[in-house]
Amino acid sequence: MIPISWYLAVAAVLFTIGTVTVFVKRNAIAMLLGIEVMLNAANLTLVTFSSYFRELAGQIMVFFVMVVAAAEAAVGLAIVILLFRHRETLNVDEAQALRL
Protein backbone atom coordinates (compact mmCIF):
# COMPACT_ATOMS: atom_id res chain seq x y z
CA MET A 1 0.00 0.00 0.00
CA ILE A 2 1.37 3.37 -0.93
CA PRO A 3 0.98 6.07 1.70
CA ILE A 4 -1.00 9.04 0.55
CA SER A 5 1.81 11.39 1.45
CA TRP A 6 4.04 9.93 -1.27
CA TYR A 7 1.59 11.04 -3.95
CA LEU A 8 1.22 14.43 -2.30
CA ALA A 9 4.97 14.83 -2.07
CA VAL A 10 5.40 14.09 -5.78
CA ALA A 11 2.65 16.58 -6.57
CA ALA A 12 4.31 19.20 -4.39
CA VAL A 13 7.65 18.74 -6.11
CA LEU A 14 6.03 18.92 -9.54
CA PHE A 15 4.19 22.08 -8.58
CA THR A 16 7.40 23.68 -7.40
CA ILE A 17 9.20 22.80 -10.59
CA GLY A 18 6.35 24.32 -12.57
CA THR A 19 6.48 27.49 -10.54
CA VAL A 20 10.22 27.79 -10.98
CA THR A 21 9.74 27.31 -14.73
CA VAL A 22 7.35 30.22 -14.85
CA PHE A 23 9.76 32.38 -12.89
CA VAL A 24 12.96 31.50 -14.68
CA LYS A 25 12.04 31.15 -18.32
CA ARG A 26 11.89 34.18 -20.55
CA ASN A 27 10.16 32.54 -23.48
CA ALA A 28 6.40 33.04 -23.40
CA ILE A 29 5.63 29.51 -24.59
CA ALA A 30 7.95 27.97 -22.00
CA MET A 31 6.12 29.92 -19.31
CA LEU A 32 2.82 28.51 -20.55
CA LEU A 33 4.33 25.04 -20.32
CA GLY A 34 5.27 25.75 -16.72
CA ILE A 35 1.68 26.68 -16.02
CA GLU A 36 0.58 23.37 -17.50
CA VAL A 37 2.99 21.55 -15.19
CA MET A 38 1.48 23.34 -12.21
CA LEU A 39 -2.06 22.48 -13.31
CA ASN A 40 -1.13 18.84 -13.67
CA ALA A 41 0.42 18.76 -10.22
CA ALA A 42 -2.80 20.17 -8.80
CA ASN A 43 -4.75 17.54 -10.73
CA LEU A 44 -2.61 14.83 -9.20
CA THR A 45 -3.35 16.11 -5.71
CA LEU A 46 -7.08 16.19 -6.42
CA VAL A 47 -7.14 12.69 -7.81
CA THR A 48 -5.08 11.40 -4.88
CA PHE A 49 -7.54 12.76 -2.37
CA SER A 50 -10.47 11.55 -4.40
CA SER A 51 -9.08 8.05 -4.48
CA TYR A 52 -7.95 7.79 -0.87
CA PHE A 53 -11.11 9.25 0.64
CA ARG A 54 -13.36 7.57 -1.90
CA GLU A 55 -15.00 10.81 -2.96
CA LEU A 56 -15.84 11.26 -6.61
CA ALA A 57 -15.89 15.05 -6.34
CA GLY A 58 -12.11 15.26 -6.71
CA GLN A 59 -12.16 13.59 -10.08
CA ILE A 60 -15.05 15.72 -11.29
CA MET A 61 -13.04 18.76 -10.35
CA VAL A 62 -10.05 17.43 -12.28
CA PHE A 63 -12.30 17.05 -15.30
CA PHE A 64 -13.25 20.71 -15.05
CA VAL A 65 -9.64 21.75 -14.45
CA MET A 66 -8.65 19.99 -17.67
CA VAL A 67 -11.38 21.76 -19.60
CA VAL A 68 -10.33 25.12 -18.22
CA ALA A 69 -6.67 24.34 -18.93
CA ALA A 70 -7.57 23.61 -22.54
CA ALA A 71 -9.44 26.88 -22.87
CA GLU A 72 -6.61 28.78 -21.21
CA ALA A 73 -3.95 27.16 -23.39
CA ALA A 74 -5.88 28.04 -26.53
CA VAL A 75 -6.37 31.67 -25.63
CA GLY A 76 -2.87 31.99 -24.17
CA LEU A 77 -1.29 30.67 -27.33
CA ALA A 78 -3.41 33.00 -29.44
CA ILE A 79 -2.08 35.90 -27.37
CA VAL A 80 1.46 34.59 -27.82
CA ILE A 81 0.93 34.51 -31.58
CA LEU A 82 -0.27 38.11 -31.50
CA LEU A 83 2.72 39.08 -29.37
CA PHE A 84 5.05 37.46 -31.86
CA ARG A 85 3.36 39.17 -34.77
CA HIS A 86 3.78 42.61 -33.30
CA ARG A 87 7.17 42.37 -31.66
CA GLU A 88 8.98 39.67 -33.66
CA THR A 89 10.16 38.17 -30.40
CA LEU A 90 8.81 35.80 -27.80
CA ASN A 91 11.06 37.09 -25.05
CA VAL A 92 8.80 38.55 -22.39
CA ASP A 93 11.59 40.77 -21.10
CA GLU A 94 11.46 42.69 -24.35
CA ALA A 95 7.71 43.10 -24.25
CA GLN A 96 7.48 45.15 -21.11
CA ALA A 97 6.44 48.49 -22.60
CA LEU A 98 2.78 49.00 -23.32
CA ARG A 99 3.62 50.82 -26.50
CA LEU A 100 6.24 49.68 -28.93
Binding site: P3, I4, V37, Q59, A69, V75, A78, V80, L82
Partner: protein, 164 residues
Protein backbone atom coordinates in the same frame (compact mmCIF):
# COMPACT_ATOMS: atom_id res chain seq x y z
CA UNK B 1 4.78 -4.36 -7.32
CA UNK B 2 2.66 -1.31 -6.84
CA UNK B 3 5.53 0.46 -5.13
CA UNK B 4 7.85 -0.35 -8.01
CA UNK B 5 5.38 1.14 -10.48
CA UNK B 6 4.89 4.19 -8.30
CA UNK B 7 8.63 4.71 -8.12
CA UNK B 8 9.05 4.43 -11.87
CA UNK B 9 6.25 6.89 -12.54
CA UNK B 10 7.48 9.29 -9.86
CA UNK B 11 11.04 9.34 -11.18
CA UNK B 12 9.77 9.77 -14.74
CA UNK B 13 7.42 12.59 -13.79
CA UNK B 14 9.96 14.53 -11.78
CA UNK B 15 12.70 13.96 -14.35
CA UNK B 16 10.42 15.12 -17.14
CA UNK B 17 9.36 18.20 -15.18
CA UNK B 18 13.02 19.03 -14.60
CA UNK B 19 13.55 18.70 -18.33
CA UNK B 20 10.72 21.12 -18.98
CA UNK B 21 12.60 23.55 -16.82
CA UNK B 22 16.13 22.92 -17.96
CA UNK B 23 15.80 22.53 -21.72
CA UNK B 24 16.56 25.61 -23.75
CA UNK B 25 14.41 24.94 -26.78
CA UNK B 26 10.67 25.17 -26.10
CA UNK B 27 10.07 22.19 -28.36
CA UNK B 28 12.16 19.98 -26.11
CA UNK B 29 10.32 21.38 -23.11
CA UNK B 30 7.00 20.53 -24.73
CA UNK B 31 8.10 16.97 -25.44
CA UNK B 32 9.32 16.64 -21.86
CA UNK B 33 5.86 17.78 -20.77
CA UNK B 34 4.44 14.99 -22.92
CA UNK B 35 6.53 12.47 -21.00
CA UNK B 36 5.35 13.99 -17.73
CA UNK B 37 1.72 13.64 -18.85
CA UNK B 38 2.40 9.99 -19.57
CA UNK B 39 3.79 9.47 -16.08
CA UNK B 40 0.77 11.20 -14.58
CA UNK B 41 -1.50 8.93 -16.57
CA UNK B 42 0.27 6.04 -14.88
CA UNK B 43 -0.41 7.63 -11.50
CA UNK B 44 -4.08 8.03 -12.27
CA UNK B 45 -4.38 4.39 -13.25
CA UNK B 46 -2.63 3.38 -10.01
CA UNK B 47 -5.13 5.48 -8.09
CA UNK B 48 -8.06 3.85 -9.83
CA UNK B 49 -9.14 6.91 -11.82
CA UNK B 50 -9.41 5.08 -15.14
CA UNK B 51 -11.66 7.50 -16.92
CA UNK B 52 -9.47 10.46 -16.00
CA UNK B 53 -6.32 8.64 -17.04
CA UNK B 54 -7.57 8.14 -20.57
CA UNK B 55 -9.18 11.58 -20.74
CA UNK B 56 -5.84 13.03 -19.69
CA UNK B 57 -4.17 11.47 -22.72
CA UNK B 58 -6.98 12.42 -25.06
CA UNK B 59 -7.27 16.06 -23.98
CA UNK B 60 -3.90 17.03 -22.58
CA UNK B 61 -1.51 14.95 -24.62
CA UNK B 62 -3.63 14.62 -27.70
CA UNK B 63 -5.01 18.14 -28.05
CA UNK B 64 -3.42 20.77 -25.82
CA UNK B 65 0.14 19.67 -26.39
CA UNK B 66 -0.42 19.29 -30.12
CA UNK B 67 -1.60 22.89 -30.08
CA UNK B 68 1.61 23.87 -28.32
CA UNK B 69 3.66 21.98 -30.88
CA UNK B 70 1.85 23.61 -33.76
CA UNK B 71 2.44 27.09 -32.39
CA UNK B 72 6.10 26.35 -31.68
CA UNK B 73 6.64 25.08 -35.19
CA UNK B 74 4.64 27.74 -36.97
CA UNK B 75 6.40 30.54 -35.13
CA UNK B 76 9.76 28.83 -35.65
CA UNK B 77 10.78 29.40 -32.06
CA UNK B 78 14.49 29.42 -31.41
CA UNK B 79 16.32 28.03 -28.46
CA UNK B 80 16.97 30.40 -25.61
CA UNK B 81 20.46 31.76 -25.33
CA UNK B 82 22.38 31.88 -22.11
CA UNK B 83 22.10 35.27 -20.48
CA UNK B 84 23.92 37.07 -17.74
CA UNK B 85 21.86 37.17 -14.59
CA UNK B 86 21.04 40.76 -13.81
CA UNK B 87 20.04 40.12 -10.24
CA UNK B 88 22.59 37.67 -8.82
CA UNK B 89 21.35 38.01 -5.27
CA UNK B 90 18.18 36.07 -6.14
CA UNK B 91 20.01 32.77 -6.04
CA UNK B 92 20.54 33.11 -2.34
CA UNK B 93 16.79 32.82 -1.89
CA UNK B 94 16.88 29.31 -3.29
CA UNK B 95 18.18 27.54 -0.23
CA UNK B 96 15.62 28.95 2.25
CA UNK B 97 12.76 28.22 -0.12
CA UNK B 98 13.99 24.71 -0.76
CA UNK B 99 14.20 24.17 2.97
CA UNK B 100 10.65 25.45 3.26
CA UNK B 101 9.49 22.96 0.62
CA UNK B 102 11.26 20.16 2.42
CA UNK B 103 9.67 21.12 5.70
CA UNK B 104 6.23 21.16 4.11
CA UNK B 105 6.72 17.71 2.65
CA UNK B 106 7.83 16.34 6.02
CA UNK B 107 4.78 17.95 7.59
CA UNK B 108 2.57 16.25 4.98
CA UNK B 109 4.09 12.89 5.79
CA UNK B 110 3.47 13.41 9.49
CA UNK B 111 -0.12 14.62 9.16
CA UNK B 112 -1.27 11.81 6.91
CA UNK B 113 0.27 8.93 8.79
CA UNK B 114 -3.02 7.28 9.65
CA UNK B 115 -4.14 7.46 6.07
CA UNK B 116 -7.11 5.62 4.62
CA UNK B 117 -6.12 3.05 2.03
CA UNK B 118 -7.61 2.98 -1.43
CA UNK B 119 -8.40 -0.71 -1.36
CA UNK B 120 -11.47 -2.25 -2.89
CA UNK B 121 -13.29 -1.02 -5.94
CA UNK B 122 -12.12 2.22 -7.46
CA UNK B 123 -14.34 5.24 -7.58
CA UNK B 124 -13.19 6.37 -10.97
CA UNK B 125 -15.16 4.19 -13.35
CA UNK B 126 -16.66 5.97 -16.29
CA UNK B 127 -20.24 5.24 -15.38
CA UNK B 128 -19.94 6.79 -11.96
CA UNK B 129 -18.13 9.86 -13.23
CA UNK B 130 -20.61 10.30 -16.05
CA UNK B 131 -23.57 9.96 -13.75
CA UNK B 132 -22.20 12.56 -11.35
CA UNK B 133 -21.34 14.92 -14.17
CA UNK B 134 -24.80 14.82 -15.62
CA UNK B 135 -26.77 14.98 -12.38
CA UNK B 136 -25.05 16.67 -9.47
CA UNK B 137 -22.65 18.75 -11.53
CA UNK B 138 -24.83 19.48 -14.51
CA UNK B 139 -24.63 23.25 -14.24
CA UNK B 140 -20.81 23.45 -14.20
CA UNK B 141 -20.75 20.95 -17.06
CA UNK B 142 -22.93 23.15 -19.24
CA UNK B 143 -21.06 26.26 -18.19
CA UNK B 144 -17.75 24.74 -19.20
CA UNK B 145 -19.14 23.99 -22.63
CA UNK B 146 -19.98 27.67 -22.97
CA UNK B 147 -16.51 28.46 -21.69
CA UNK B 148 -14.94 26.30 -24.38
CA UNK B 149 -17.06 27.99 -27.01
CA UNK B 150 -15.90 31.41 -25.79
CA UNK B 151 -12.30 30.22 -25.78
CA UNK B 152 -12.56 28.93 -29.34
CA UNK B 153 -14.10 32.17 -30.54
CA UNK B 154 -11.52 34.19 -28.66
CA UNK B 155 -8.61 32.24 -30.05
CA UNK B 156 -9.92 32.48 -33.60
CA UNK B 157 -10.58 36.22 -33.34
CA UNK B 158 -7.26 36.96 -31.67
CA UNK B 159 -5.09 35.02 -34.07
CA UNK B 160 -6.83 36.03 -37.24
CA UNK B 161 -4.96 38.03 -39.84
CA UNK B 162 -6.45 41.40 -40.66
CA UNK B 163 -8.23 41.40 -43.97
CA UNK B 164 -7.74 44.54 -45.98
Amino acid sequence: MERALFLIFAVTAIGAALNVLLRRHPLHSALALLVMLGALTGFYVLLGAYFLAVIQVVIYAGAILVLFLFVIMLLNVRAEEARIERRPYVRWLAVPFAALLGAEIIYLVRVFEENPSPSGTSVGVTEAVGRELLTTYLLPFELTSILILIAVLGAVVLARRERR
